[in-house]
Symmetry: none
Subunit: 144 residues, 2 copies
Amino acid sequence: MTKNYRQGQILKLVRSKRINTQEELAQELRALGIEVTQVTLSRDLREMGIVKTADGYREILPDPTGPSLAQVMAEYLLDVRLAQHIVVLKTSTGSANSLAVALDQEDWPEIAGTVAGDDTVFVACWDNQRAKTVHERLLSYVNQ
Amino acid sequence: MTKNYRQGQILKLVRSKRINTQEELAQELRALGIEVTQVTLSRDLREMGIVKTADGYREILPDPTGPSLAQVMAEYLLDVRLAQHIVVLKTSTGSANSLAVALDQEDWPEIAGTVAGDDTVFVACWDNQRAKTVHERLLSYVNQ
DNA sequence: CGTCGGAATGTATAACTATTCAACCAATTG
DNA sequence: CAATTGGTTGAATAGTTATACATTCCGACG
């Protein structure tokens, strides 16, 4: 169980249900097989920019200045696959979101949109031709 | 000194300088001639939708909870794109999930399934033709 | 190997925030 | 004019979160 994975699960939980306290969050994580203390959650939440609101924990707008695409890619991108007009990115577990955000910010014209799971990002391109272009460009980021 | 006035001053303070605790805020207000306890501030802040972040107290966007598709769409849908048999919906950050849920509930026959990220929903249709139909129908929801 | 340095985590507890309960006050009603 | 109701507030304190300090793990380097 990595920190990334844990934080990914935290994000999912916070998005999908109302969590009012860190202890409550710890319970939910325990149900997913993640043992974690309130202390660690306090640190995770701060790190992730999730704050406590009257309606439970919520994400707030992140600092618009994220790390560069190259950095994120170098750190997390494991594989790039082409499936028709969809490019599938495999990342280290829990990092798909960071990577998708970085890619979104690049605003490539070939890309219609992205959506991130846990360790996978789907990149929808307008057509097969442009997907091929994107595929090649992203491949160059993968660890040589 | 009315409650409204006090909350106005709180807003100004929170916008203009970094306030880390409610006691700190009470100090600042005292400097403006407003005597107030931590208890009252706790209530004021909740009422005003101001939350504690790692960078001090901040306003956050008032939060919604989700009625009809039309309403959800009107509120969150920013863009609709067609990429072969995938329709890509761009939403305001954090709303992709609500939107996907609303769309799922509609149970359109052209739609094979949806998957939501943070600000993007992929809508997989059975083929390009049906995707085109869905694309057009969804487009009608955008920015009227 | 040893050992140094940094990241991740936990325990104990300090610091901070929210709630409970009661008081007060103004407006309203019988 | 009581009595009642709804809104605002504070003292005490319950509940929640953050911090100080210690420990463990792991990779780099001599």
